[in-house]
């Protein structure tokens, strides 16, 4: 009798941890063409930079252009760094805006949100799982830029020991580890924005709106951060430490900016996570 078997389900087996749902969330995220299109676009950044520098320079350092750009010709390992610097203000927040803005609103728009909830996924659990998916995307997006940059740099330019900002020299492996640390730093930097996106996503059933609003907030925060008149506000902007990763390229590593950044992002996660919970836990799902 189904009546019995339905009632006799074991309580507290593996699924109740939400691990299956996390895996399912990751699978759905990375089975979307859109996700791969964004990852491809991010990979294109270091490739473009490396190819353009290779074609136009022919070994003569010009002394112009953004930071690190000249160094690329001397050492291919700088491609990753340059690409990250280019990607952080615009491209990364844009892709994170798409993923984080889509979390709840996307499911609402498809109508699948109601089926997830009556499964029942549990509203808090669904929020956590959705956030975990967005956070994983932050890591994948950042790693895409770093790793693609390292590969294309090694292919097009000489590779050798790197002189750090402090004047010390590290080997290729040591530098690559630093790059991974850098990727971690940037990932952490994007977690606050992801939380904001998650919250905005609970407000609407139109994913594009949530995506645009999230990406726009990243732009606004950076503009505010560039205005000296608003100096008092800067420490509170989630974008404040976005480009502050230079400390990771010194010997010994200065961890202060990493810690300050992590604390700030945690604050944003706490605030917007709470707001998202407050909104979503009582929301009528009518889509």
């Amino acid at each position: 009798m189904p009546a019995e078997s339905a009632q006799d389900r074991p309580i507290g087996s593996g699924g109740s941890l939400g691990l299956t749902l996390v895996l399912s969330e990751i699978a759905v995220l990375f089975r979307r063409l859109r996700t791969w299109a964004m990852i491809g676009a991010l990979a294109l950044i270091p490739i473009l930079i490396a190819v353009v520098v290779r074609v136009s320079s022919d070994g003569s350092a010009s002394g112009r252009g953004p930071a690190f750009l000249d160094s690329i010709t001397q050492n291919g390992l700088f491609v990753s760094l340059t690409a990250l610097t280019v990607a952080i203000p615009l491209f990364l927040p844009l892709t994170i805006g798409v993923v984080a803005g889509d979390t709840i609103a996307g499911e609402a728009n498809l109508g699948t949100l109601r089926y997830l909830l009556i499964a029942p996924a549990g509203r808090i659990r669904l929020l956590l799982v959705k956030y975990a998916g967005a956070a994983l995307f932050c890591l994948v997006a950042t790693l895409t830029v770093v790793v693609t940059g390292a590969i294309i740099g090694a292919l097009l330019f000489p590779v050798g020991p790197v002189t750090l900002l402090s004047g010390d020299t590290v080997g290729i492996v040591g530098y690559f580890l630093r790059l991974l640390l850098l990727a971690l730093y940037v990932t952490v930097s994007l977690l606050g924005l992801s939380a904001i996106g998650l919250f905005i996503s609970t407000l609407t059933t139109v994913p594009v709106g949530a995506m645009a609003a999230t990406a726009a907030l990243a732009a606004v925060a950076q503009i505010l951060g560039a205005l000296p008149q608003l100096e008092w506000l800067h420490p509170w902007l989630f974008t404040n430490y976005w480009l502050g990763f230079a400390d990771l390229l010194r010997e010994p590593i200065a961890w202060t900016s990493f810690a300050d950044n992590a604390l700030l992002q945690l604050g944003y996660i706490a605030v917007f996570g709470t707001l998202a919970y407050g909104r979503f836990s009582t929301k009528d799902v009518l889509s």
């Binding site: 189904p2 339905a6 699924g15 089975r31 699948t112 109601r114 009556i118 499964a119 029942p120 009528d284």
Partner: protein, 315 residues
């Protein structure tokens, strides 16, 4: 509330949208094991009620008992035992039909014992989607999506199925299949609560029904109970239609002539007027009565009377 024999019980369930009462103080009582039809024109509040039953929307007021729990408080314990289709199916268009099901099953906790892939395949077979399982769900027709939605509701053994207009978008063959499916599920002991705006459909599947009209529950009971609440009707077969019509009118019964030109019917609307009296009056006036039949009200009439409109008219 005591609800030992009830799978669904609501008291004064109300949902207000702005100034509109989409659901207005309804008291549902769905016995366990029944196939229960939730009937009402479009916009009468069926889906809104179902959303509240499942904890998707909060009730403005009123109480809900679902199986052994109070909703939404006991959602976590109750909902795994409930399969549902609400306001049509929803799919991830970029996944195959088959890949859609584990996604929602993954959200179910705790998962039932048989391996997921076994249950997914069984559910797909049961709704007749086995052959199209690997197709991208975006390429599904409405009827196929509807089947996928029903398969999702059947992923685990359920005590209660709540199906909101399950035959929407299905062809006559699919409609028959869904009816058969509901019957077989019911025979397994599952309580089925099925909403529809089509009387004929509910009449074929359900033993009990509730009728919604503009947010209110206007009738509830077995089909027979509802039939007997209506006014009886006499049906006279005679070559003298005009005479018969005159006699019936004189007795205060508005005559209705139908397609065939030798029958005339009238509702027995006059209190205390017995059918035999009507027959005697007809014969006395020289009407050649060849057939005389008394029947209960048709459900159709009953529903038009209850809801003030035909059943496929938008409300």
């Amino acid at each position: 509330m005591s609800s030992d024999g009830l799978a669904i019980e609501t008291r004064g369930l109300t949902k207000v949208f702005g100034s509109q009462k989409a659901v207005n103080g309804i008291d549902l009582a769905v016995p366990r094991g029944s196939v229960f039809g939730f009937l009402g024109p479009n916009g009468s509040g069926k889906t809104t009620t179902i959303r509240m039953l499942l904890g998707l929307a909060s009730a403005s007021s009123g109480e809900i008992r679902l199986l052994d729990g109070v909703m939404p408080r006991d959602a976590r314990g109750v909902l795994p035992r409930v399969g549902a289709l609400v306001e049509g199916p929803a799919i991830y268009p970029f996944l195959s039909g088959r890949a859609n099901l584990p996604r929602l099953d993954a959200a179910d906790r705790p998962p039932p014992p048989p391996p997921r892939s076994t249950r997914v395949d069984a559910a797909l077979e049961r709704v007749g989607l086995g052959h199209a399982a690997t197709k991208r769900a975006a390429a599904y027709s409405l009827g196929m999506k509807q089947r996928l939605g029903i398969a999702n509701a059947l992923l685990a053994p359920r005590d209660l199925l709540i199906l909101d207009e399950p035959t929407n978008g299905l062809d006559p063959q699919g409609t028959r299949e869904v009816r058969g499916l509901i019957r077989s599920l019911s025979e397994d002991g599952t309580t089925v609560f099925v909403s529809s705006h089509l009387l004929a459909e509910v009449e074929q599947m359900c033993s009990r029904i509730a009728v919604m009209s503009a947010g209110r529950l206007v009738a509830q009971g077995t089909l027979d109970e509802l039939r007997s609440e209506g006014t009886a009707r006499v049906r006279v077969t005679t070559p003298d239609i005009d005479d018969a019509s005159r006699v019936l009118a004189r007795l205060g019964l508005p005559p209705q002539v139908h397609g065939r030109d030798d029958t005339i019917t009238a509702e027995l609307v006059v209190e205390g007027l017995l059918p035999e009296t009507v027959n005697a009056a007809l014969v006395q006036d020289g009407v050649r009565v060849r057939g005389f039949e008394v029947s209960g009200a048709s459900l159709e009439d009953r529903f038009v009377a209850l809801t003030g409109e035909g059943f496929d008219v938008a409300g």
